[in-house]
């Protein structure tokens, strides 16, 4: 195995491990969002759209700066999607005839157009980077698709050995059963994007990286500045090996010239040359680039227009103005407009959520809300001793809040549907919502003689949804959390805002102390 492949595998495993560790309780010293923070496109896109520098951008600056110095090492050595594409290609397509030969330059300019679309839309004020950024989309593939699938398969495996475990008295194994996260049809769309990216290898190896990846486009621009260049020494016999093995087809037809913007430092030309005449070295003075930037006026305009159109799509959508009653964002989510600009749909919050109440959006928020996290309170309430979603958000779309602040980041207000509540409508005896409420926000008032009816005290309900999750009425339940009354702050303290509005969500002394052992602050 080559050194590069070893690096790739290490980073891929690290990527998987960090996603597996994106869980509650979070180990604070682990930067679970490392790969997302290393991604200059995500950081740039979110910062530009939100008109503010996203916190913790150092790693992204390092990646971009290092690329300007040595070239696209990130693509060739680190990017987990790139590694996965290569591994999949080795297995699925390597022996098959491709649509185009390796060194043919097919629509390389598209990646710059994709980049432009994202940056233009961000400059106008809309976050589009989530759609095509490789780290965001690959993280999303893991959190929304691979992780739940892995749990499903593990449980099926455990089910098979369960009878054996029972016979053999291996009690721990008998009860071994992972919590199955449930996700909406949105996962299917995530799968479609990923499968398409893999299938593009049919055209050329790493076709996605060569021609479509917007992060690749950004890094390619930086790589053009790099003083480290490939040089072909005397004695080259033009056997064409280098241009056939090059991972990204960066080497020209004549074998001498290559495009530093396309080169991902895979080193294949150096290693595979039977004459050993290829080398990478610092060139001074820097040679002139032989390949012009793949952007002409038409393509530039396409990118600008695409970005503007993308922004218009978002801006013109009614979902931007009219909120659905089902749009309960995680506690600490920025005001909706800012939230959408920053949220990159990586799904880290959804993966980390211990109760599975956080779900990727599919239909509620329109196109610009696609895959963003929403609460499904019917599935589970929001645990009042947990604040992990804000801790794992790489862009600050959900603010990292200490527990007492998170508790005051009211996400909505529970509403009782008197037509369906079995106490109101059927005179049944039930007070499950009252039992479930951690803040005593449900109270009963005698309406007619002997008929006590439940009500919600809006000042004590922070929308945690425990009532909704447990209501015995079928389907939607008769008590539903709606976004009304939510507290969404760009900055400042939720406790202060809640106090200003006369809200109070308190459990009482000792409990807070014990809870505070677990969350990361």
């Amino acid at each position: 195995m080559s050194l590069r492949r070893a690096f790739q595998l290490v980073f891929l495993l690290l990527f998987f491990a960090l996603i597996a560790l994106t869980t509650f309780p979070l180990k604070v010293h682990l930067p679970v969002d490392l790969f997302l923070r290393m991604d200059p496109l995500l950081i740039l896109g979110a910062s530009l759209a939100a008109r503010t520098l996203v916190a913790g951008f150092a790693a992204a600056v390092v990646v971009l700066g290092a690329t300007a110095l040595v070239g696209r090492f990130f693509c060739g050595w680190i990017c987990p999607l790139g590694t996965t594409i290569e591994l999949a290609d080795d297995v699925l397509y390597k022996r098959r005839k491709r649509r185009w030969r390796n060194h043919e330059r097919v629509a390389r300019w598209l990646k710059y157009v994709n980049l432009l679309i994202i940056l233009v839309a961000a400059a106008i004020g809309y976050g589009l980077s989530f759609l095509l950024d490789p780290i965001a989309l690959f993280t999303r593939t893991m959190t929304y698709l691979v992780y739940p699938a892995a749990v499903l398969l593990s449980n099926l495996g455990l089910d098979i050995i369960r009878p054996v475990a029972l016979e053999a008295d291996w009690t721990s194994l008998y009860y071994a059963n992972l919590h199955q996260p449930l996700f909406s049809a949105g996962s299917l769309a995530v799968a479609a994007v990923f499968v398409t990216i893999i299938m593009l290898n049919r055209l050329q190896r790493r076709f996605w990286c060569r021609s479509l990846c917007p992060l690749g486009g950004l890094l390619a621009l930086a790589a053009r500045l790099s003083p480290v260049r490939r040089v072909v020494g005397a004695g080259c016999d033009h056997d064409g090996k280098c241009k056939r093995v090059c991972e990204t087809g960066a080497i020209d037809d004549d074998e001498f010239q290559y495009d530093p913007a396309e080169c991902i430092l895979c080193w294949r030309c150096v290693k595979d040359c039977h004459l050993q005449v290829n080398e990478f070295t610092l060139r001074s003075p820097m040679p002139r680039l032989t390949q012009p930037l793949d952007l002409n006026r038409r393509r530039l305009l396409t990118g600008l227009a695409g970005g503007a159109f993308g922004a218009l799509l978002f801006h013109g959508s009614p979902a931007r103005v009219v909120m659905s009653d089902r749009m309960i964002r995680p506690p600490g989510a920025l005001p909706e407009d800012d939230f959408r600009k920053r949220c990159i749909r990586c799904g880290q919050c959804v993966k980390a959520c211990p109760t599975n109440t956080l779900q990727p959006d599919w239909t509620e928020g329109g196109l610009e809300g696609l895959w963003a996290p929403l609460h499904n309170m019917r599935l589970a309430g929001c645990d009042q001793g947990c604040n992990v979603c804000g801790q794992v958000c790489p862009t600050g779309a959900i603010r990292p809040l200490p527990l007492p602040e998170k508790r005051y980041a009211k996400v909505g207000t529970a509403v009782i549907d008197q037509q369906r509540c079995i106490v109101w409508a059927e005179d049944k005896f039930c007070l499950v919502c009252d039992e479930a409420c951690p803040y005593n926000a449900i109270y009963f008032v005698e309406q007619e003689k002997g008929k006590r009816r439940p009500f919600v005290d809006r000042t004590r309900c922070n929308g945690c949804g425990l009532c909704e999750s447990l209501c015995p009425v079928a389907a939607e339940g008769a008590i539903i959390v709606k976004p009304d009354g939510q507290i969404r702050l760009e900055e400042g303290r939720y406790t202060a805002e809640a106090k200003r509005r006369g809200f109070k969500f308190e459990e009482g002394g000792a409990v807070d102390e014990v809870y505070s052992e677990y969350p990361v602050e």
Partner: protein, 300 residues
Amino acid sequence: MELTRREMLKIMAATGAVALWPKWATDAHAARRIVAYKGEQAATVRKVVEELGGIKKFIAKGDKVVIKPNMGFAVPPLRSSNTDPIVIRTLAELVLEAGAKSVQILDNPVHPIAMCKLRNGIAKELEDLDDVYIDLVKDEKFFADVAIPHGRKLKRTRVLRAILEADAVINAPMAKSHGGSIVSFSLKNWMGAIKNRIEWHRDINLHQAIADFATYIKPKFTILDATRALTTGGPGGPGEIKHLQTIIGGLDQVAIDSFAVGLATWNGKSYQPADIPHIKLAAEQGVGSMDLSGLITLTV
């Protein structure tokens, strides 16, 4: 002294009755007797079990034992929504001392499993005990459908398989107030052993379902943890916690619950055992007796 024939016959009958007093009648009394001690948890649990006849009376060597505590709320022990970890630990120790093969501590939790494990402090308290397995179980596959032959409304329900298959089952509830069933003691604790609680709430009368299930489930004995009773806001709390410092043990769950009713006010009200419908129904259906006369051994 002259005796009429009638009196003579009475004396003879009485003498005969004493002489021939069957063992089952004594056992029946022992089966009804309940014991309540005040004091520090571990020692008190041990005293109560000793007073009931010792753990060996209930657990045989090699038994597979299931303990069913309340541990289904994702809150720390101080909230009193779960049975105290030390009480559970002491019971597990006793069972192991009697030579049991294994102890499973099981509950079908109300809150998410992971969060319960994180906060209820039970696994941490018992981590050094071998052959003890603590599991929170929600998934359908761990339950089996059973008939409740003496149930009035509840005819079938799905119960934790392990409980059905165990050699001995011990009930270890927490004393709590309860929004639905007024109190949650021994009888109510079994709601954590079944799968479909919604049905009990929504489709049949909750009290009747509790009483019906009590006709089916036969724990070897019950230890009710009333050391820190949750007297308001139960079962999940938060609520007022009354430090009763009492452990109540016995074989008759109706008697235990009837006794516990009188220990405190529940959600601010005083109750007689017969005021709690599920206790009254359980007594009616022959699960046990609400009549406490001559039953209690109480030491302060």
